[in-house]
């Protein structure tokens, strides 16, 4: 792989011994960690244990979100009046922008993984950084939505947790998702630091792909939440 050799040299000249070791010791290994060598499995192919583990977790997490969304659906489906007097409606346009932001950060995440596979260190760090920035901006947006930034937030406008099924399900679902974004930002920051230390040089992309799975899942869940919590209009059926 000629591209790999060029960028490995680049990394080695910039980061000295550690990167040198990484690039030359494992430059030929693009399938993952040196700890994770085994014959391709008949059923799971070359998917690493870590990746299968993350998928297990994501399935259970999907059921958690499924439970919350189903409870919301049952409560809203049974109610004759969902939004009580004095409670604000949810802003669609601002949240659509947040949705777009998460989609963008998913793209930067796959590009970071692509750079890691191709052993492009600088590009990997850049796109990991942009992904973290996207997550942080999303959290800022959610803070603005709840508490207000340069204008009143939903709480000030009268959407109080515990005062109605509308308020409680809204805060429960969106804050549970927000916790996932926060977890993702912390997780990706750890991955970013490890990348900075040269642990993913030489095409060792496995951990970046696993972190990416978590991050894309957070994006995927938000697509569902945005559709069913924000976009369903408040008109009788």
């Amino acid at each position: 792989m000629s591209t790999s050799a060029v960028s490995a040299k680049d990394a080695a000249s910039k980061h000295g011994g550690a990167a040198h070791h990484g690039a030359h010791g494992h430059g030929h290994d693009v399938q993952g960690d040196e700890h994770e060598h085994w014959q391709p499995d008949a059923h799971y192919g070359t998917a690493s244990l870590g990746k299968i583990g993350m998928w297990f977790f994501l399935c259970s997490d999907a059921l958690s979100f499924g439970g919350l969304l189903l409870a919301y659906g049952i409560l809203r489906g049974q109610s004759t009046k969902w939004i009580n007097p004095g409670e604000p409606e949810l802003g669609i346009n601002f949240t659509a922008a947040l949705t777009f932001l998460l989609i963008c950060s998913s793209v930067t995440m796959v590009l970071a993984h692509a750079a890691a596979v191709e052993n492009k260190r600088k590009e990997m760090l850049l796109f990991l950084g942009l992904t973290i920035l996207g997550g942080a901006l999303f959290l800022t947006g959610q803070y603005k939505e709840y508490f207000g930034l340069g204008g009143p937030g939903l709480i000030e406008e009268g959407l109080i947790f515990g005062h109605s099924a509308y308020a409680s399900t809204f805060y429960l679902i969106t804050s549970f998702h927000g916790c996932h974004v926060l977890t993702g930002v912390i997780y990706l920051t750890v991955i970013f630091i490890r990348a900075l230390l040269g642990q993913f040089d030489g095409g060792k992309h496995n951990h970046i792909e696993i972190a990416g799975l978590f991050w894309h899942f957070v994006d995927l869940v938000w697509i569902i939440v945005f559709t069913f919590v924000y976009l369903v209009p408040n008109t009788p059926s």
Partner: protein, 95 residues
């Protein structure tokens, strides 16, 4: 396979997700009948979720066993939702 990189495909999916998000917000402002709207929104959301899962999460390139190990548990809440919707519709029939 683990290391599938296709930047063109990633940007295509980004475009698809962008357009579908605009479409989703657009149909809400159209003011169509609620049942039609709900079917449209659900369809659009599922297509978007599938795009993320298949291409960004590389499920398209995993083995079919891994794909099914993920798809079956994740579709169970959706089946439960369908049962609840059917039950709700049944109760509202003018008996």
């Amino acid at each position: 396979m683990a290391s599938h990189v296709n930047r063109k495909e990633y940007w295509t999916i980004f475009g698809v997700l962008f357009v579908l998000t605009i479409l989703e917000v657009g149909v809400v402002y159209l003011g169509i009948a609620k049942t039609t709207l709900m079917i449209a929104l659900t369809g659009l959301a599922l297509v978007k979720a599938a795009c993320v899962g298949l291409f960004f999460m590389h499920l398209k390139h995993e083995t079919s066993i891994l794909r099914r190990s993920v798809a079956i548990p994740m579709s169970i809440p959706a089946f439960y939702a369908l049962i609840l919707i059917a039950e709700g519709a049944w109760r509202r029939l003018p008996w």
